[in-house]
Subunit: 240 residues, 2 copies
């Protein structure tokens, strides 16, 4: 009798482990697609490639669907498995991260929309070097945040939170340059505004990467570090 | 014995009900504060009242703290009560809504920051009539979304989703007017950009109200209607 019970409980628990692994895999797959969307949107913008931009727009629906499916998985696990402690934190971190990833997807789609407008107007506007630079920066943050999630790596998560500050600085400096440019050449205003919206989207993507990094710390350490500065996160991590 | 068991189970369940009621009350309290922040931020902007704007900035921390506390409540209920069906949906809807409310608080704080900048510059810029109008519109959407949550009212939630479309139209029309104004008077560019950021924040607040309305439908009907048009939401509601 005991053996049967043990086997059964082992079986249940193994299945539960698989479900949690699947959940994580699905989140990371969504993350991979979102990261590619960001990369393609920046490429479409800086190369004036409207075809790629249209693809990014079309893919957004797939990301939305992934969010809904992953959230259904989370709710199903909560209802059937009644996870506790770190299992529960994993489910909560996944449902939060999926929401941020979906919003990153939205921003990539917006960048693609502006890329199409700018490509139609021809004439490559100012701000592309900065845009490409900040774009690569935030794309790496997303990638690192996902790697940190995959590996439960709080060190890497902290690094992402620290990066967000320098993105903000780069963003502000690029914005000032664009505003000056608009003042010098008022005919360029509506064109430059498109680049400004792209910068704004990139800055948001950095924020979302930062959020995902914070969920990793929650997941691993059980500390909710949202709304904390990187310095205080570092301090709390070193004390834990 | 049976009576004891019944009383006990009744007691447990009553306590669980109270916890769910408390959770809802806390979300609505947070919502009330966020709504006031939006109202005060718009007032500070249109009346050039920097003191109110500073208050809005200072209150943002309280909203962040509320989010963390409400999320802790959600996690505690999930771990201890292992809710199922509509109880589980309530907890998930609260945790999602609290995230949107926190972001609305951030947008109110940003509006307040721009209000301070604009007040310093004196000279009331263009776009305030539109800003006040759109501001009141999205504030009502937040209020209605919260009322819909409080009453489990899917009709009102649908109305909020429908409103979001007209906010988008108002936003686009106001943006066009501001861009034209910048072109006509390039010296106003940096001032008008501040108003543009405010409009952008207001449009976002409308999006968050719409999200909260979608959670109400999820909560009451068990249908995840995120990323759906108001038309398809209406259709799905009428079929349910």
């Amino acid at each position: 009798m005991e053996i049967t019970t043990d086997t059964h409980s082992h079986h249940i628990s193994q299945q539960f482990n698989n479900e949690l692994e699947d959940l994580k895999t699905h989140l990371l797959a969504m993350g991979g697609l979102v990261e590619k969307q960001v990369q393609d949107a920046i490429y479409a913008l800086t190369e004036g490639d409207s075809a790629i931009a249209e693809e990014v727009r079309a893919n957004d629906r797939a990301i939305n669907d992934m969010q809904i499916r992953i959230d259904e998985e989370c709710t199903r696990i909560l209802a059937r498995r009644q996870p506790a402690a770190s299992d529960l934190r994993l489910v909560m971190a996944v449902t939060r991260a999926t929401s941020d990833l979906e919003r990153v997807g939205d921003e990539a789609s917006k960048i693609a929309r502006h890329a199409i407008k700018l490509a139609e107007e021809g004439e490559p506007p100012r701000g592309y070097i900065e845009t490409r630079h900040i774009g690569n920066h935030v794309r790496n943050m997303i990638k690192d945040a996902l790697t940190a999630f995959a590996r439960f790596d709080t060190e890497l998560a902290l690094k992402v939170a620290q990066e967000d500050k320098s993105v903000d600085l780069e963003y502000r400096s690029a914005m000032r340059a664009l505003v000056t440019f608009m003042m010098e050449d008022p005919r360029s205003i509506s064109r430059v505004l498109n680049v400004i919206w792209v910068l704004r989207s990139l800055e948001r993507i950095g924020d979302h990467a930062n959020n995902i990094a914070e969920y990793v710390i929650y997941l691993v350490k059980g500390m909710d570090v949202r709304h904390s500065t990187p310095e205080s996160i570092e301090e709390r991590l070193s004390e834990s």
